[in-house]
Subunit: 356 residues, 2 copies
């Protein structure tokens, strides 16, 4: 499934992009006056091979949840059980991602791709409420500080879970996928992934995650440095990188991105977990970048390095570092607005407005 | 009306801000992880003197349209008639501001505060569609390059039109006002206003507006410099500054901001026209800044200078330079999301999530 998905990913459609650029020139606004929204809408025309491209509706957030063996190294002050507890909170509709999803009418799908602790008893979910997909590959990764986090088969299973979720959401009608994640400790594997794929130094790739103190931060940088030295991940072998130093949610997100790109549906990236997974997706299939929209610039330094490497400019930059998909959801109206302009705005001719 | 409105503007409510900060600390997310959204929601609690503050709904965009005598100086390649033609486009629902307003469910009110040319025949407007308010103070300003743009009485009439529109929209239920503007040539008075209130140099305050060429830009900077020298506007006399070098839409927007601040309703600022008017509003009433939310960072350099002077950080920064209210509308979901968090997100206690 991974190989056929990668093989299905094709370049953007040039004629549709040219048509979108020309349409922009006829709309009642000064040329170029919508800035980054114009480039974005042109790229989405290329992705859809249609001008105008379809409105990115309805939106579906997929939150992949997993635990991390590297938690044992003391890289975060939060107990590991919080991953499952927060999944319970997502399913009950009580997290920030739920509030933001309700605001924009996005569905929420929570995928257990690797929880280490049992879920709390589930409250009744109202119709149309958050949905749980049980797809646990293993109960958390192994500790990447001492061994490979996953076998290649486990990494592949997680990637293919992401591809399968993308297909299901798109088959159910989603016009755009948004990446979400939950996993106590998951900024540590994200930092290793960013360093492995971009070549930046461990201290540059590593941030403070939920806001760790100085000793914890120093430990985290040491763990990232040691993992790179131990595993010597080869960026030309993305499955090997994900297996050695990734997380189950990172691998699944890479799959979600590939699955969306193969179906030519845009995927709106959240923060550092998402963009570290996007680096893996781009290593599998460079043309997958054409389907990616960077939702926001996370406060994590590794996120900015990953975005630079991918050549993506984020739509929102407000110092968020929450994850869950919250930054992607905040950016969704910008993406929709960019496309809506090509559908709804009058031309100079049709509106009887003089040109300069 | 101006004096009583200014007198009604009061500081933010400290207890409500403290309560909002404490509430943020109990919600199921790492402390501070929503970045600028947390500060924004705390400020809006202070404005409303309530925690949580009301959701900023429904939203109302007020687009003030006016023409400019300085058009005669060749500061823009667009014909003056385009102001009225674009007002026709707003009323027909064909402009970018209409597309963005439909997306977020905002009402659109277009105020003729100073059109110089007659409106084109109006198409039928559907119920709930854009509304025209006829409040023409005069058919465009005089040429600020050769004389005062307005008399003090005319400037006051425009400011009070803005106050009146704010009151009417709030009385009709608006939970947030968004600034919009239309006026061929209006970035030239905006640049003079920014230079007058902030003290920056004419070349720093002046941008390329709709995208003017080098000779036009040089002419525009010369006009801004000469206007400052001719009128020597005194920033301690905001009505005098607006009369000497402002536009009717700039003056009305200053009034809209003051009217919103007096009623403790947030006002979401669009681009350089809005923030130049906001400088005037802050000169009338420094506490009015508490009601201002900077929607976006316009590509116009004067906008950034004005935001710095006001101490405001914009929510969106995507190189837009269209005006109309488009940047404010793009930012609206961020404002709503920031407040929604305080209404809807579960606490650690209520969700059964462990703390670090």
């Amino acid at each position: 499934m991974l190989e056929s998905t990668v093989a299905a990913i094709r370049p953007l459609d040039e004629p549709a992009m040219v048509a979108a650029g020309e349409l922009h020139g006829r709309l009642t606004k000064p040329a170029g006056s919508l800035g980054a929204l114009e480039e974005l809408s042109v790229r989405l025309a290329g992705l859809a091979a249609a001008c105008p491209p379809p409105l990115p509706e309805p939106a579906a957030v997929a939150i992949f949840a997993g635990d991390h063996g590297v938690h044992a190294q003391g890289v975060t002050p939060w107990p590991q059980e919080v991953t499952a507890q927060m999944v319970g909170n997502f399913l009950a509709g009580g997290a920030v991602v739920n509030a933001f999803a309700r605001q924009v009418g996005a569905s929420v799908t929570v995928v257990d791709v690797g929880l280490a602790t049992p879920l709390p008893p589930a409250p009744p979910v109202p119709a149309g409420g958050p949905r749980l997909v049980a797809a646990n590959v293993r109960p958390g990764t192994r500790d990447l500080a001492v061994t490979a986090a996953l076998t290649r088969d486990e990494a592949r299973a997680a990637v293919e879970t992401g591809i399968r979720v993308a297909r299901e959401l798109i088959d159910a009608g989603a016009g755009i996928l948004l990446t979400g994640d939950m996993g106590i400790g998951n900024t540590t594997p994200a930092a290793v992934l960013v360093a492995a794929f971009t070549g930046i130094a461990p201290a540059e790739a590593t941030g403070r995650g939920t806001g760790v103190d100085d000793p914890t931060y120093a430990r985290k940088v040491d763990v990232v440095r040691a993992a790179l030295a131990r595993h010597a991940p080869d960026p030309a072998d993305p499955l090997g990188v994900l297996a050695a130093v990734g997380g189950l949610e990172h691998a699944a997100l890479a799959g979600l991105i590939l699955g969306a790109a193969a179906r030519r549906v845009p995927v709106l990236l959240d923060g550092v977990i998402a963009v570290s997974a996007a680096l893996a997706a781009a290593a599998f299939a460079p043309e997958a970048v054409g389907a990616m929209v960077a939702g926001h610039r996370s406060a994590e330094p590794g996120a900015s390095a990953a975005l630079r490497h991918l050549g993506l400019d984020p739509l929102i930059d407000l110092g968020l570092r929450l994850g869950e998909g919250t930054g992607a959801l905040l950016a969704l109206p910008v993406v929709t607005g960019a496309v809506r302009v090509l559908h709804e705005v009058a031309t100079f001719d049709s509106a009887g407005v003089a040109e300069k």
